[in-house]
Amino acid sequence: MPGATTTYSIPYPAAGDGPCLLGDVLATAAARIDAVLSTVEARVTRVSEPECFRVSATGTTTLNNVITWNGVDIDPGGMVDLTADPQGVEVGGSPGVWLKISSATTPYSSTSGNVLNMFVDGAGSTVRDLDAAQNPPSGGVSIFAGFAEQISGPAGVSTSSIINAELFWSGTGAPSVPTVTTAYLAGVRIGDA
C-alpha cells in the first residue's frame, strides 16, 4: 500500500509493493509534483508581472463627475477597454490590493471660497482618497490623489471593482468650460486580498 507525503500528498511506494503498483505510484507522483510546481510557477509569475495600467485624458471633461479617459499609456495585460467604459478600468478580474493614483491639471482658478477636489475610487466605494486645492491660482492647478484599496471582484459582480477618478467643484463660481489640460489614472495590483 503506497504512502504519501503529508503536505502535498505525493505518493511513494511502500515496502512489499509489487512492480505493477510501482508504475502507478510513480505516475501519480509525477502528476502531483507537476501540479504543485505549476501552482508555484503561477504564483511567481503573478508576483513578478503584476497587473497594472495607466490611462490619460486631455481636452474636456465633465466637472462634478468622473473623468472621461481618451488615451491608454500603459496596459501590458490588456485589461483596459475604454470603448466599453471610457470613465473607468475594470480590475475585478484580478482581485487583490490595488494601488490607485491619479492626477489632473486644469485651468480652473478662483479667488475666494471655492475648492477643486479630486476623488480616486471605485464607483460605489466608500473608501476614497481626496485631494483639494482651495482657491486655485490664476493659470490653473494640478491636484493629485492616491491610495491602496482591497478590491474583491470578480468582474461584473461589484461596481466597486472599477477604478476611476472624479473632479468636482465645491462652492460657487464653477468655470463654464470644463477642461482638463492633462490627467492620468494609474493602478497597480500590489498583493493578494
Binding site: P19, G23, L26, A29, A30, D34, L37, E41, P76, F144
Partner: protein, 192 residues
C-alpha cells in the same frame, strides 16, 4: 518513459532501474531549478532612493530642479546628479515618486511639485509629468512642509530615461529651503 511538462517517469511495469529512477529525480530537479530562478528574479526588483546632499539655498518665485545627488538605497543606479538615470536598469514599468521636504520663510502660499519622466524614443523625446500643488498657510517662519507626488511610467530605453523632481514656488514675499530629507525614488514593478 512518459513525460508531464518535463517530469519523466517509467511507464507501466517497465523495469524500474536505477537509471530510470535517476532520470525521474533529475527531471524534477530541473523543474525546481527553473522555479527557483524565476522566484529569485521576482524578488530582485530594481529599486533606487536618492536625496539631495545638502540643503538648498532659499528659493522664491520661479521654477527649479533639485540635485538628488546622494544615493540612499539602490540595487542599481545610473549616472546623473539631478535625478535617477536608468542607464543600468532594465526596461519595464516603473512606479516612481518623490517629495519635497522644506522649510519656509516669510509668506509662501503654494509649492507646485512635479515628477518628470523623460525618455528618448527614436528621434523624439517623450515626457510624462505628474504634478501636485501643496498649499501652504502663509505664515512667517513656518516649519517643515512636504509636497508628495507619484506616478507610473514605462521605460523602454533605459539608456535615455530619466526621473527628476522639479518645483515652483508661489510666494508673495517668502522663500523655501529644500532640505536633505527630500526624496526621489523609483522601483521596477514588472517587464514591458
Amino acid at each position: 518513459m512518459l513525460d508531464i511538462s518535463g517530469i519523466v517517469y517509467p511507464e507501466g511495469r517497465d523495469a524500474f532501474t536505477a537509471a530510470e529512477l535517476r532520470r525521474f529525480a533529475e527531471s524534477v530537479n530541473t523543474r525546481l531549478i527553473a522555479v527557483m530562478a524565476a522566484s529569485s528574479a521576482a524578488r530582485g526588483a530594481d529599486c533606487m532612493v536618492v536625496r539631495p546632499s545638502v540643503s538648498g539655498s532659499p528659493l522664491s518665485n520661479g521654477d527649479s530642479s533639485i540635485d538628488f545627488d546622494t544615493t540612499v538605497y539602490a540595487t542599481n543606479r545610473g549616472s546623473g546628479g539631478v535625478g535617477i538615470a536608468t542607464t543600468s536598469m532594465r526596461p519595464g514599468v516603473y512606479l516612481a515618486g518623490g517629495f519635497l521636504n522644506c522649510t519656509t520663510t516669510g509668506s509662501v502660499s503654494r509649492i507646485l511639485t512635479s515628477l518628470r519622466f523623460s525618455e528618448e524614443r527614436g528621434p523624439r523625446l517623450v515626457s510624462s509629468i505628474t504634478e501636485n500643488v501643496r498649499k501652504l498657510n502663509a505664515k512667517s517662519g513656518r516649519g517643515i512642509e512636504q509636497a508628495t507626488v507619484c506616478g507610473l511610467f514605462q521605460v523602454t530605453d533605459p539608456g535615455s530615461a530619466f526621473f527628476s523632481v522639479e518645483y515652483s514656488v508661489v510666494s508673495p514675499s517668502g522663500s523655501i529651503t529644500v532640505t536633505t530629507a527630500s526624496r526621489l525614488w523609483a522601483i521596477r514593478i514588472r517587464g514591458l
